[in-house]
Symmetry: C2
Subunit: 642 residues, 2 copies
């Protein structure tokens, strides 16, 4: 299988279809049976997997076939390499399936299940081409997060008693509740309540969390003696907690029952589940599938039941297809959560990202997030720019290749390109500081503090027939100027169902949309975890100069079954269409009718036609909506819903 | 300079002499002036140093000349690579002088001083041959440890008030005193008192520390659910503090003055300095000079004023000469400590280690430690052995090369070799787990739990004309079966002056001596920091079978000016000579006369002649000394001392 049908310039890409239909068609198939190295009766198959992939590479096998069964992978004897993984915590990581530098390999798991013991990345595909992985299940013996059941609350003393099950060893150390994992620990940071009956994030859960408020300033002295020449990343683990204290104190009532006092927030309901993963910087450690700098990847019928991090994260990859990729808790595991971060995530990818027939359920962050990464200009010398990685989870990010087009933007104004340059070379002096040399002199208008955006490292996107339910945070985050189609999906997330973010301050994630179509989707309740109703489709941008940041957005033939009237916010969109959508009250949460269905800021042409909306949602288009022209035609209030 | 005069079989090695005298003699010298890239007026020379070494390598320069001056290196823009460093904490590390893969390079610093800002390893020499580095000073802007002055003690309430100077930013967070460093933090773990007047570790300081006793067991629950297949390293940072609590609570009296309560130990004297470096696993981060897998290295007239870790650590190097290498605090810095670990350290080195004219002062650990590293056998399959790294600070250790002779030993019995094997290949599956294939089948007598020792990875050693004073821990730790000469040194350490350890339980450091000569040295007070007097020369070994572990040890013509009578312990030494030594009371600490001057366990022939010892030290040879034969001849008690 040596297919590379992606063509520069965005011509029709047949890759996904071909990859799905041709794997049995080629003649020179050379099959390696995994049973040569591993048996499901083995106590630990880590070393066997290492030898298996070693042989597959050495002898150019094109296919590895596994036998159905349950296999255990212990981190102790697993292969390790240092992994910088975007939006994760970097470090030396164990890997079960190490697909590094392969060409033309299909892995057929035959329905096998692999259970990780310790921090193991189940699958890493790096610097590889034409790789298919299918028919596999991945899980972790012990979850890397922890789940606590609210046993009782005391609103006089502001305490909560938590039941902690046997899957979650813990200790109380100097008054702090600490969960003991294989090779690491975590505390009650980054905790979210889940409604056990709905198996979804609890209604308005953001009012109740984080439970560990960092309210009191601790005593800090002598700090003036710091002599810093460069900015520090105050979000990074080394700095984030300086000058702060934990408000919580833990006390064991009996084994498995712990009282937490010092709660400053609204108390939860007994029976709810608190899911905690601990401090940022040490809670996204081993994603399910890691794809790096690879091309033509198909993940088909693969299930990630749990991972410390994302279900799948792809960086710098060209043409990635996820077909029937599932991030879901396993029935019988007794866990509320699947992965403890996004189900999927794509950074700086190219070609096409296709997701179809996927299921993303109960993960602790977005279903997907597709974006680029800004670098901050720190110094300029003729053709060379010194540039800084903004977020500690993007260190060592592969910013671009020679020949890539890069633009400079002024983040204090907006995301509009101010100068275009072509990469000659990128030198990673250290993972935070790069020197990038361009073919051209850097124009004088580009200043220290400007951001660099690689405008070639964005993919086309199709997301269809996917089910996204009961997760924390958003459904789909889309930040790519290439063509995007989102259709026939079911989406229900505690925040926005679809969001096009545009921000410069925290994540340094670049991107906007130029051609986004959202059609024939069913948006079940979204945004219910927010303190106040917010837009189900949330298109954000800022521009001091009133520029259009997003180009064309079409939202068509969708059904919104929502507890609140707040359906769309569109900021700085040039060409917005909202057509043939049906919006009704879901009946699942208290109705909220205050917000208008559609809000607009700095929009160009708005074409809003043939929509039907619940008659209780009295404001259709916000009275203060700002757009150059608004076509508001044949939109009908209907008596429907519960 | 392409000298490789080391000859297998231990013939006379002229290397050091040649390296010292020939650097100006060769014709094809190609000199690069550092001033092309860095000026002492630069705010930060990190990037300039990177470009300097880049050019030196690319264009095969043989010499780099620096201009005298003070240069600042900020970690922010320094080159980074992941460093596994033996007896240090591994991780991504910044490097100022990155001498990686060089051949034939002399660096003449011209007396320049380089000051690190943040965690920067000043010098790393890896995979290089024939490298000289001279005439340089290295320091850190802010110390990586912290020093606190005892302002007052309250023996009723068991509290200590500490003054904390401006070099040491700190905060009190949830009752814990935390020192804020550039990119990391530390607490009061690993703290030692220094006597400010003597500028040495305080008398019997080990009675007073560690100040943070970990006495209370914290509440641990659900721990039974852990399913472990392999042993965990309970000394590693992830496990060490499980089930424990800190006894200390900190309270700010005023900025720069902090009261610590919860002290369980004897209180210190006001005016003493507490030196703390924080938890193991996060306190040996950036050694001064790091040498790895290199050959023919000369470090000449180089001073390390401070480092987070050792002054110099060499791993797997052949022929290392330190001439006038100094690890000393800088006058005017107002610091008690130089480096926060050993001054020097040699692991798995070969050829000759020569140290002369060196000064090792006020560092927080031994002056040197020369040893190999054991691996633990975990599984055996014909010619291949699975082996585990025992200590978390030895992960990824380069155990041996194809062709090296390895022996297996049974650590439950003693260090005697039981089987000899020859390495075919070493595979590092992960930094803790190796697979080692031998030319031969592994004999049946070798069992799981046995240790592997590389008997070729040991150096000859000469240490002469060095001054070792006022440091914590030991002077010289010697564990190499090759010829060792220690002569004309001055040694005064808080524990043993010279120690030959032999242990299997904690450090996994291999080695013993076969031919050790200690002559013409001046041992000023040693062992004064211990709770009780202990041997100045401490030769340790255990053998269930009564085997000789050490071979020949000659201790001759040395002067011992000591507070205590406890001078020599020799365990399991085949051939011991203690001749012409003079032992007198120093007068610097309360006299201790209880211990015999010489104790022996399981010694073969002991030749003890012509020694003079203070008449107050009434026991010369221990009454229970066990040796095959003891020649006790012409040893004279003298009326001398204070």
């Amino acid at each position: 299988m040596n297919i590379n049908c992606f063509k520069k310039g965005g011509l029709i890409c047949l890759l996904a279809w071909l990859m799905l239909h041709t794997t049995n068609a080629h003649a020179a198939e050379k099959i390696l049976q995994a049973s040569k190295y591993i048996q499901s009766s083995d106590a630990d198959v880590a070393m066997g997997l290492y030898r298996l992939f070693e042989e597959a590479k050495k002898n150019n096998y094109t296919k590895i076939e596994f036998q159905k069964g349950t296999y255990h992978v212990y981190s102790d004897h697993a292969f390790e390499k240092y992994c910088f993984i975007s939006n994760h915590d970097s470090g030396p990581r164990k890997i079960a399936f190490s697909i590094l530098g392969f060409k033309n390999l299909e892995i057929d798991g035959g329905g096998a299940e692999f259970i990780m013991h310790g921090l193991v990345i189940p699958v890493a595909i790096e610097n590889s081409t034409n790789i298919t992985i299918r028919n596999l299940f991945f899980n972790f013996d012990r979850p890397t997060h922890s789940e606590l059941k609210v046993a009782a609350v005391d609103d006089k003393n502001n305490t909560i008693d938590f039941e902690i099950g046997n899957q979650y060893p813990y200790e109380i150390r100097n008054g702090q509740l600490i969960f003991l994992k294989y090779g690491y620990e975590h505390n009650l940071e980054n905790a979210v309540y889940w409604d056990a009956e709905k198996r979804a994030v609890a209604y308005q859960s953001r009012l109740l969390t984080p439970i560990n408020k960092i309210l009191q300033k601790s005593v800090v002295s002598n700090i003036d003696s710091e002599k810093l020449l460069y900015p520090i990343d105050t979000n990074s683990p080394a700095y984030k907690f300086r000058g702060t204290e934990n408000s919580l104190v833990a006390q064991q009532l009996k084994p498995g029952l712990v009282r937490i006092s010092g709660i400053k927030e609204t108390l939860p309901k007994p029976g709810w589940i608190l899911v905690a993963k601990g401090l940022n910087g040490n809670n996204r450690l081993a994603p399910g599938v890691r794809l790096l700098d690879s091309e033509n990847i198909l993940v088909n019928n693969v299930t990630v039941h749990h991972a410390s991090g994302m279900g799948l994260i792809a960086e710098g990859c060209t043409n990635v297809t996820l077909d029937a990729f599932r991030v879901v808790p396993k029935a019988g595991d007794g866990r509320m959560l699947s992965t403890n971060a996004d189900a999927t995530h794509f950074v700086g990818c190219r070609g096409k990202v296709l997701m179809q027939n996927c299921k993303f359920e109960n993960q602790l962050d977005d279903a997907t997030n597709i974006h680029g990464t800004y670098l901050e200009v720190t110094d300029i010398s003729k053709k060379t720019v010194g540039a800084r990685i903004g977020h500690f989870q993007q260190v060592n990010y592969n910013f671009g290749r020679p020949g890539d087009s890069v633009v400079a933007v002024n983040p204090k104004v907006d995301a509009k390109p101010l100068a275009k340059l072509t990469i000659k070379k990128v030198e990673v002096i250290n993972p935070r500081y790069y020197q990038i040399t361009f073919n051209e002199d850097v124009p004088q208008q580009v200043l220290k503090g400007f951001y660099l955006e690689n405008i070639q490292a964005y993919p086309e996107v199709e997301i269809r027939n996917c089910e996204i339910i009961n997760n924390r945070a958003r459904g789909l985050l889309i930040s790519t100027p290439k063509k995007v189609i989102i259709e026939n999906n079911v989406i229900s997330s505690m925040m926005a169902g679809v969001q096009c973010p545009n921000e410069f301050t925290f994540w340094y994630e670049s991107g906007y949309v130029k051609d986004l179509t959202i059609r024939n989707n069913k948006f079940l309740d979204n945004t219910y975890g927010n303190p106040k109703p917010s837009p189900v489709i949330n298109v954000l941008a800022a521009s001091e100069k009133g520029n259009y940041i997003h180009d064309r957005i079409v939202i068509e033939n969708n059904t919104f079954l929502n507890y609140s009237s707040c359906i769309l916010l569109a900021e700085h969109v040039k060409d917005l269409k909202f057509i043939n959508n049906t919006i009704t009250y879901s009946g699942n949460y208290p109705i909220s009718t205050e917000a208008p269905v559609i809000s607009m800021v700095g929009v160009g042409e708005a074409d809003i036609r043939n929509n039907k909306y619940d008659s209780r949602f009295t404001k259709f288009i916000a009275s203060n909506a700002s757009a150059k022209t608004i076509k508001n035609d044949n939109n009908e209030s209907i008596e429907k819903g519960r």
